[in-house]
């Protein structure tokens, strides 16, 4: 007996060509706008290149130079400080805020819209706004601290507070993460809470044993996305620090406390015309990001709970 074979409606080769034609906008875009620049920057990182002259092969010299470049280490330290302080605080505020937004309060849709509002404000505009809010002389933030008799720091012109100011500005858009957590909270089965309550579990135990594991896949995603965003931070420190009226013209903040990795990379590429060194820095950032992401993914086996396992 002959087995019945489905007959293709048209030759496989033709179908493949059609498929490729439909996918070509992405394929061409990916090759030209992503893959080629990535490969080119890899090559440039091994050269002395200024954009204007032909690249000159220098091998690993750009990478070796980083070892003795104090500003490179300062920018890396600052960026890791923003990341490892900013991301946990961002996650904590988001989860707490999502719980509040999950309550049955009057006008809840309005509150949800309001917390998301800062996320649609352009980063530059938000930076200018926060420069006034954090002003040591006239700022609203210090005014509030004064009411409570809390010491008022010089947020933008004191080296020990410059990095914190950047983190504060980054946290301004925490509403986006909060709404994602709100969606995650709504997906936690209510019967789990009811059962736990019957067993006498209090709010903290319910959070720790039910909510946290159930939203842990979302946390994993948020941690990785936020780490990538914090490692690439540019606009916030750039706007906060670059204001002649503040008496600082370094674009790196007091004591270089706002010198992020991306700002130093930009300076090398477009101000000092050291595009080879800037390309090498970009690759180092890629590997740092990759290493941290892989570490988190590896650790996820221990703290992320998937209920379909």
């Amino acid at each position: 007996m002959q087995s019945a074979r489905p007959r293709p409606s048209e030759p496989t080769g033709r179908a493949l060509l059609k498929g490729l034609a439909f996918a070509s906008p992405f394929i061409i875009g990916f090759l030209v706008l992503y893959l080629w620049p990535i490969l080119a920057s890899g090559y440039y990182s091994l050269t002395d290149f200024s954009l204007f002259k032909a690249p000159k092969w220098v091998g690993l010299a750009n990478y070796e130079r980083m070892i003795s470049d104090a500003k490179f280490w300062k920018s890396l330290y600052n960026t890791l400080f923003f990341t490892f302080v900013g991301v946990p605080v961002d996650i904590a505020i988001s989860i707490a805020g999502a719980h509040i937004l999950n309550q049955k309060l009057k006008g809840q849709p309005l509150w949800r819209a309001l917390v998301y509002l800062p996320s649609i404000v352009p980063a530059v505009a938000a930076g200018f706004l926060w420069r006034w809010l954090l002003n040591a002389q006239y700022g609203f933030v210090n005014e509030i601290l004064r009411w409570f008799r809390i010491p008022q720091p010089n947020w933008l012109l004191d080296a020990s507070w410059g990095g914190i100011s950047v983190i504060v500005l980054m946290l301004w858009t925490v509403g986006g993460t909060m709404l994602i957590y709100l969606a995650a909270l709504k997906n936690v089965p209510q019967e789990l809470y009811e059962a736990a309550e019957l067993d006498g579990a209090g709010p903290l135990r319910r959070f720790w044993h039910i909510t946290w594991p159930m939203i842990s896949p979302v946390t994993l995603f948020q941690v990785i996305v936020l780490i990538i965003a914090f490692l690439q931070v540019f606009t916030q420190p750039f706007v906060l620090s670059k204001d002649p009226g503040l008496g600082t013209q370094t674009a790196t903040g007091p004591g270089d406390s706002m010198l992020s990795y991306s700002i130093y990379l930009f300076q090398n590429g477009f101000t000092f015309l050291k595009m080879g060194y800037a390309s090498a820095m970009a690759w180092v950032l890629l590997f740092v990001t990759l290493a941290i992401t892989l570490l988190i993914l590896w650790s996820a086996k221990k703290w992320v709970f998937y209920d379909n396992r």
């Binding site: 104090a70 004191d158 080296a159 009226g245 008496g247 370094t250 004591g255 015309l273």
Partner: protein, 419 residues
Amino acid sequence: MERKAQARAAHAAMSTALGAVMLLGGALGAQAQDKTEITFSYLWGGAEGAALEQIITDFNASQDKIVVKGVSSPDMTKQLASMSSAKGAFDVSDNFASNIASWANQGILLPLDEFGLDTSDFPESIMKQLVVDGTLYSVPIATHNFQLVYNKKLLDEAGVTPPTSMAELADAIKKLTKVDAEGNVTQLGLGLTDISAGLKTLGYAHGGDWNRDGKPTPTDPGFVEGVKFYFDNVVAPVTPAAYNKFVAGFGPYMSDQDSFKQGKIAMVFEGEWRAKFNTEAGMDWGVVQVPGKTPELNGSTWADVSTIFIPTNTGNKEAAAEFVKYLISPPAMEKFSHVLANLPGRLSLVDSATYDDIPNFKVWLDALKNPNTHGLPPALYMAEYNADLASAFDSVLQGAQTPEAALQAVADRTGSYSQ
């Protein structure tokens, strides 16, 4: 019938008018096509941009071969990107002298020697910034230097006369600095609206130089002494924390909240453009040359230059050079610098009566002829060096490092600069 005739007449009149407009447009188009069009992309905007547009209009009116299109584009990164391609977006542009050496070295500036530009009366302090390895790459459209500007009202109230020596300056700072009962600064005797410019000026006034013989010299004793003078006389007496808290309240430069305009600082090292702003702001102000550590050093300052250049990737180098020639001609330079209250780049214009209506302008004009006015020799490393100096100055004003330590840290980095 009558209506039909009227309609026919109107139709004929409209057709004739349309034809005339088309013919005129065609003729004008043909005339424009005969002219070489070049683009002048300038970093200025606002009043400066408007002044340049007027000069462009004057040039176009005087020309039957070239027409210049002015474009205000304040983005320097975009300016650089345009010069990296085979065919650029502009034929003439402007920048500052500190970038000339680096850009000439990259091969993106057209050498100007072959065009026979008249540079005979450019001050030496200016020319040395624009000639790289014996080749002229850029020419000045305006120049700048820094002098000691003071608030007359505040000095009178404190019984202080404008200082003429470093000792008098130190004494004036002391008398003009005010601190309230809680230790908060309410007025600074000497402020910095541009930290780098102010501290470099003080370095020159102490006989120092931060860039000697084409090499970065951040630990030059006179330069270190200048930075130390500011810290010891302005910052240390009120404490760095109180100083920085006060500075945090400074509003945007040359706005209504400007620190000098608001009377928050009594004296400041400022460029000549300040003359116009102070006057328009209705301030009672004066200016003296920068006091020196010794009488021979009186009037020490440094000259910065707003320069005009032609990129290598221009397709119209002859027309571009013709326009540059016009821009730096005495009448155009005088007009531009007068509108902006900037200094001219020609010694022959220093005594021009045109500038008489700008109050106190003569102090800055005279500095163009003063041998104590320093020009920076062109150097490839200037951008990096300036960024490192800015960080070092900030570190000193924060009280985080002594001037010696902060400037030594810069010296330690100079080895990696482009040479």
